[in-house]
């Protein structure tokens, strides 16, 4: 299997993965970072969202070998103020979509530190939550700095 080098959360990993392997699969199964969840595995729900050079992308349909840039997963954001903001605002129920929500939200507030409600809705629309925590996510992002 061809070898691949990935920088994830500022750490360099050298792994073996077939060309068809998704970044999500490599993160979860090979590197062992299971915070990134796979819920649909075809790019429709956003649960698998990670950042590549700060840009939110869907790791389940990103080929691991085609990644160009540094990957940030939820593990790399564990101390981001958004985490406490989500907890405070109760922006989590079952929690399966939540890591992806935080990754998208972190990119949003990096680009727009004080987003409006419309901006939040526009930028978070690719992260589906079946439990319906959306109003809480809005609040978490509006008050992310605490």
């Amino acid at each position: 299997m061809p070898e691949l080098q990935l920088t994830v959360n500022d750490e360099v990993y050298a792994v073996d993965a077939p060309v068809g392997a998704s970044l999500a699969h490599v993160l979860r199964e090979t590197i062992g970072l299971t915070g990134t969840k796979i819920a649909c595995n075809e790019g429709h729900c956003g649960a698998c969202t990670v950042q590549v050079d700060g840009v939110p992308v869907l790791s389940c349909i990103t080929l691991a070998h085609a990644v160009r840039g540094d990957v940030t997963t939820i593990e790399g954001l564990r101390d981001h103020p958004l985490v406490e903001a989500f907890v405070r605002a109760d922006a989590v129920q079952c929690g399966f979509c939540t890591p992806g929500q935080v990754v998208s939200a972190a990119a949003l507030v990096a680009a727009i530190p004080e987003p409006t409600l419309d901006e939040i809705r526009h930028h978070m629309a690719g992260n589906i939550c079946r439990c319906g925590t959306y109003p809480r996510i809005e609040e978490a992002i509006l008050h992310w700095r605490g």
């Binding site: 819920a39 564990r78 129920q93 079952c94 929690g95 979509c97 939540t98 809705r121 079946r130 319906g132």
Partner: protein
């Protein structure tokens, strides 16, 4: 004191008479309103680990040597497997075992819906297992498939007996009514689509099965697996500490659970069997479609004198027929009611309980019908509901009912309608609609809990319960903290493992808080009693003067004031153990939940777009334990309901019965951009007859009335009657056109 009683147990609206061992519960309820901890906002105990991705779901369980299993599913709506041969499949690289029809519960020889599993294959990797499916040699004999529920009813093809109910003299009352309104309402198949798909990882260690299952009912799965494998219940351990949503679809073991367990036995290796999202959209359960033909007769003063309904539940190939007639028979005071409910057997993937099964569908039909009655009577819809308020459930008193208070809370929001309507212009019409909610939510025995108090004064609640995302851990911690008199951050909760902790009921039917909550309180009270006994002995006081407040053990005269950990340091590494059980339900009473939604919508009358702008929700569910979590439940239920109201529908090919909406871009759930302003309020008055807590469940009530309230708001805005869910643009435009035709013919416009 334990005793054996015969009682009626209700889950998801289904009633059964059961024998139960119950313990009496001598505790008196706390006073109403927010207390020190209970009734206040509490952030989730396990929030941080979920947010950070540290929580381990079944999807994250990885065991050494684990195999991956996939299911071979029928491509036909009805067929028989006449021949199946695994030789080629088993010869493939990495393939370790296969199961054919009958070799595990759920693998059938005669599939009755597309997607029904007939076989299972396990291999080293998921890709190998999937590739091997194509190498299984199967011959099918296609059989006749019925896909239309009305055809099934005509041919008397049912999944269970037809249910008829009658009270009073329906025919006569209808004949004497001043006004009669009839309507046919249809709801569609919608899918749970929890973010974590159905899955299980099974491993045998010696003669014990360890099953990691994404489930709402640990003990149910334990029981199911024990029976399937012919082993004692204690030889099955079921673990689920975090699960990614269920909504009723994960109430027991399914094909993937059984296949994983049997394959693990066969291969001697752990086996994961996880559904893909496509399988989840196909054959993991659903809320069945319904056709409801409803009639209401009333006097001109608004008194409802007759209610009738014919309900067809398009159940699917198997399954139970939910009580779609429930709201019609229970919500309003009406002496003359007649209903018939059919469970149509059709060759489509069958229903599973989905957040208030039957009542969501039935409330849509009923509450739209009631509003159409209000229009015909030229009566305010809220006033009409007040006038027909039921003080009992067909003669049976309620344990508590504060629906009138909900109506009062809603009044000021309902009074906004002139202001809302005034926003209308030539394109966007604005309107307001309401709908009432009735549902169960009393829970019941048995459920048990322990509380351990250590020498550091920290408390651990232990129960083999599951937290499906509703915040069970936090609510249980609050109850224990309140009873014991310690700060919330000193309480931890251990749950999710049948090997660790006593029996607890399933997390469905809005039964969690009202079932396990009282058990936790009883366990905490037991521990407190022991602590008080110790303090009394150590400080030569009478027990009755001792209390614990904010983690400090005090005497009434103030002489004793010692931190709990100081009192208990003598324990060293031992502990105080308290034990509690859920007491019996009140007898001879109906334990129900109530509420009302007031919804503001805007409709683009040229394109059929519906926008939900605002929802006010008032719910009566007895004592609120976690105020923050309760608001989240209401928001979540409303948002999920907006999905089945506007954009979610499972479609199948009319020729083959195959499911077409298998992906999440075709099956469209609400995004954050679809969310209205939501204001949630609670009556928050304890049900004085119900347990030591007075709390009912809140998981389902918020999803029950939202579709009807939206439909009624649409009528208010546009005069159009929508009679079908989802209210697609096609349906909205049809209804608008019909309203225009009605107006041209001179029929009265909407009030």
């Amino acid at each position: 004191m334990a005793r054996l009683i015969r009682t009626e147990k209700e889950v998801e609206g289904r009633f059964e008479e059961v024998w139960l061992v119950v313990e009496e519960d001598p505790l008196t309820q706390w006073p109403a309103g927010p207390l020190a901890v209970v009734g206040r906002d509490a952030v989730r105990k396990d929030g941080r680990e979920r947010v950070r991705g540290e929580a381990r779901y079944t999807a994250d369980v990885k065991l050494p040597g684990m195999l991956h299993a996939v299911l071979l599913r029928s491509p036909y709506a009805h067929a028989r497997v006449t021949r199946i041969d695994f030789t080629r499949a088993l010869a493939r690289q990495g393939v370790r075992a296969a199961l054919g029809p009958g070799e595990a519960n759920g693998l059938v020889e005669e599939p009755e819906y597309t997607g029904q599993p007939v076989a299972a294959i396990a291999a080293d990797t998921l890709e190998q297992a999937r590739a091997a499916l194509a190498e299984i040699d199967v011959e099918w004999e296609e059989l006749e498939a019925v896909l239309d529920p009305e055809e099934a009813v005509a041919r008397e093809l049912f999944t269970m007996e037809t249910v008829r109910s009658e009270r009073g003299d329906y025919e006569r009352a209808l004949a004497e009514a001043d006004v009669v309104v009839e309507g046919t309402y249809r709801t569609s198949v919608v899918l749970h689509n929890s973010m974590e798909t159905h899955q299980a990882v099974c491993e045998w260690i010696g003669d014990t099965l360890h099953a990691y299952v994404s489930t709402q009912y640990l003990w149910g799965v334990r029981d199911d697996l024990a029976k399937e494998l012919g082993v004692p219940g204690d030889k099955v351990r079921v673990v689920c500490e975090f699960m990614g949503g269920g909504f009723g679809s994960k109430n027991g073991a399914d094909e993937q659970t059984y296949a994983a367990a049997v394959l693990a036995k066969k291969t001697g290796r752990p086996v994961r069997c996880a559904l893909s999202r496509r399988e989840e959209n196909t054959a993991a359960g659903n809320r069945n479609a319904t056709i409801q033909k409803l009639t209401v007769g009333a006097r001109s003063d608004g008194t409802i004198v007759a209610l009738g309904g014919e309900f067809i539940n398009a159940v699917g190939a198997s399954g139970w027929s939910a009580m779609t007639e429930g709201p019609l028979t229970m919500l309003y005071a009406c002496d003359n009611v007649r209903t018939v409910r059919y469970g149509a057997k059709i060759n489509t993937p069958p229903m599973k309980a989905f957040r208030a099964p039957g009542f969501v569908e039935g409330t849509f039909g009923l509450e739209c019908l009631i509003d159409e009655l209000a229009e015909k009577l030229e009566l305010d819809p809220l006033e009409l509901r007040r006038r027909n308020y039921a003080d009992s459930n067909d003669g049976k008193p309620f344990s508590s009912k504060n629906l009138m208070q909900c109506y009062d809370l809603a009044q000021s929001h309902w009074d906004r309608r002139d202001e809302v309507r005034a926003r209308s212009d030539s394109t966007w019409k604005h309107g307001v609609g309401i709908a009432s909610q009735i549902w169960f939510g009393g829970g019941g025995p048995p459920s048990y809990a322990w509380t351990r108090v250590g020498s550091d004064g920290r408390v651990t609640v232990v129960t083999a319960m599951q937290d499906i995302g509703t915040g069970t851990r936090t609510a249980m911690a609050q109850i224990a903290a309140e009873e014991l008199g310690v700060p919330l951050d000193r309480v931890d909760v251990v749950l999710g493992d049948t090997a660790r902790g006593p029996y607890a009921t399933l997390s469905a039917g809005s039964s969690t808080t009202p079932s396990i909550g009282p058990a936790v309180r009883a366990a905490a009270a037991d521990a407190k009693r022991q602590i008080v006994e110790i303090a009394a002995q150590r400080h030569h006081l009478e027990e009755r003067v001792i209390s614990i407040e904010d983690g400090v053990v005090k005497s009434a005269d103030g002489n004793l004031s010692t931190p709990l950990e100081q009192l208990l340091e003598l324990l060293e590494d031992a502990q105080i153990l308290g034990k509690g059980a859920r007491g019996p339900n009140p007898t001879g009473m109906s334990v129900l939940t109530f509420g009302i939604h007031v919804v503001e919508v805007a409709v683009d009358v040229e394109t059929g777009e519906v926008r939900v702008d605002r929802v006010f929700a008032a719910h009566d569910v007895g004592r609120i334990v976690n105020a923050l979590g309760a608001r989240s439940q209401v928001e979540g239920g409303i948002i999920q309901g907006i999905g089945h109201t506007l954009s979610e529908v499972r479609l199948h090919d009319p020729e083959t019965g195959r499911i077409l909406t298998t992906t999440l871009d075709a099956y469209r759930m609400p995004t954050i951009a679809d969310v209205p302003e939501i204001v949630a309020e609670f009556v928050d008055v304890p049900d004085e007859h119900l347990t030591n807590l007075g709390s009912k469940g809140l998981g389902e009530p918020p999803i029950v009335p939202i579709a009807a309230a939206i439909a009624n708001a649409i009528r208010d805005a546009t005069g159009a009657d929508v009679h079908e869910l989802p209210i697609s643009r096609e349906e909205m435009l049809r209804a608008l056109e019909a309203a225009k035709q009605k107006e041209r013919r001179g029929a009265p416009a909407a009030v």
